[in-house]
Subunit: 242 residues, 2 copies
DNA sequence: TAGTGGTCTAGACCACGAC
DNA sequence: TCGTGGTCTAGACCACTAT
């Protein structure tokens, strides 16, 4: 056997077998599936191989393992939608378009009490604030209203924002791997809809993201998209109901 | 050592060590990290333990492993937002609210040519169509406009929709684990905004989901939410740039 | 050629759950 | 008590990569 061919490996055979039974409906949610010992005999493999196959399936959300009891098909009572966001520059590049950024505002200023709380800094501590309009082939795509804790990007005021985004710059100096996001449909303010070149009252997709590193909140971004750009495409995965 | 305490297991120690270095920025994207052999010596563990720790980290997107070369910190050039959707009934239950459903339409009818293509069925094949308004404490929360391929839910016309959702019913008989989703901010039609009890022109969050099982498309749902309900909360994960 | 990750084994001990 | 999953080991062979 080719030891590196993932499609014929013993572990993969077990995984395919289990996934097939679950997807076809033969093994239904809540059903107990063969134990490690049973799979060991069925497939003629060692217990470790069966164990790691089931462990991987648990990680992928197909099964739930209960020590001392058994392995069960996960209850699909919930599902998650995954939206993969690229940096605006990359998003436009993948469509073959041309990107241009208009810097509407860029300032270092004192935090409002509310912002100070959000960033967990002293009242009146300084924050970097930028309002940037991203255009694809000269059509407004996205309005980016971003606050950044200056300690993470000390040279924020000097960065050339026409050829790189604040997002990518932040990722370079401080990869932040956790965050929360709130998504809403709103009516943009007159100044915002004017920048996005849509009629007042046009529905706008608003995304507020806050991302943090181990040392605290890095940035809070409010992203607005309107018109045909106000569309996100994602994929759905069913997950365990726990 | 307690063999089942996941927080002190050897594998977990290695994972924590690596994640810590990456999160703190000490190991930057693209950096090569210690090999299985090196970790084996550093932690005094067997190679298999180091291997499975790194394998799990690769599965979680923290590192990229290249056979023959080494293990590298993943490039965080993209990130995904995860929105966890519950069944409307469960969502309301978690908030302690009371659910009521109003069935606006329910019919078995011929598919339009467009729908027939989407469902990959014969032209004029039959489809089940339902328009259901879900209310939380008598306040409209969500308008559900759903098409279902009848073969997956033959008793669709007889189901009591006041105490269960079509979603949960479908999940019971045919757990579908894959789907796509398009999310937009739109102006609802007059009839839709009237049902949702918001002013005409109010921004509405529209989600169109199509989900499929191994035997084809199961259902296409168009979900509308307006006002304060038009808000989704998700979490962000940075993923490898590949 | 040496080092890397990919795969698999046979055996061990442990904690937990069901009976 | 017995079967379950959780953890770990020591060793093996393989394919690929860098040099």
């Amino acid at each position: 056997m080719d030891k590196t061919d993932r499609s014929t490996g013993l572990r993969t055979q077990i995984i395919s077998h289990v996934v097939g039974r679950i997807m076809s409906g033969e093994w239904k949610p809540g059903d107990r599936i063969p134990s490690e010992g049973a799979l060991t005999e069925m497939f003629g493999v060692s217990r470790m191989t069966a164990h790691h196959a089931l462990r991987e399936l648990a990680g992928r959300g197909f099964v739930v393992r209960r020590s001392g009891s058994g392995t069960y098909v996960a209850e699909p009572s919930a599902y998650v939608s995954e939206y993969r966001h690229l940096d605006v520059l990359e998003e436009i590049a993948t469509r073959g378009g041309h990107h241009r950024a208009e810097v509407i505002h860029r300032e270092m200023r004192s935090a409002t009490p509310e912002e100070a709380r959000a960033f967990e800094i002293d009242a009146n501590g300084s924050l970097f604030h930028a309002l940037v309009l991203h255009l694809e082939d000269e059509v407004p795509l996205e309005l980016e209203d971003r606050l950044i804790a200056p300690r993470f990007l000390p040279d924020a005021m000097e960065i050339d924002l026409t050829c790189q985004t604040l997002f990518s710059r932040l990722m370079l100096v401080r990869p932040h791997r956790e965050g929360s996001e709130v998504l809403r449909a709103v009516s943009g303010s007159p100044s915002e809809t004017k920048l996005l070149r849509v009629d007042t009252g046009t529905p706008v997709l608003e995304v507020v993201r806050r991302t943090w590193s181990t040392e605290g909140i890095v940035t809070i971004a409010r992203i607005l998209r309107a018109g045909t750009a106000a569309q996100l495409v994602g994929r759905i995965k069913t997950v365990s109901g726990q």
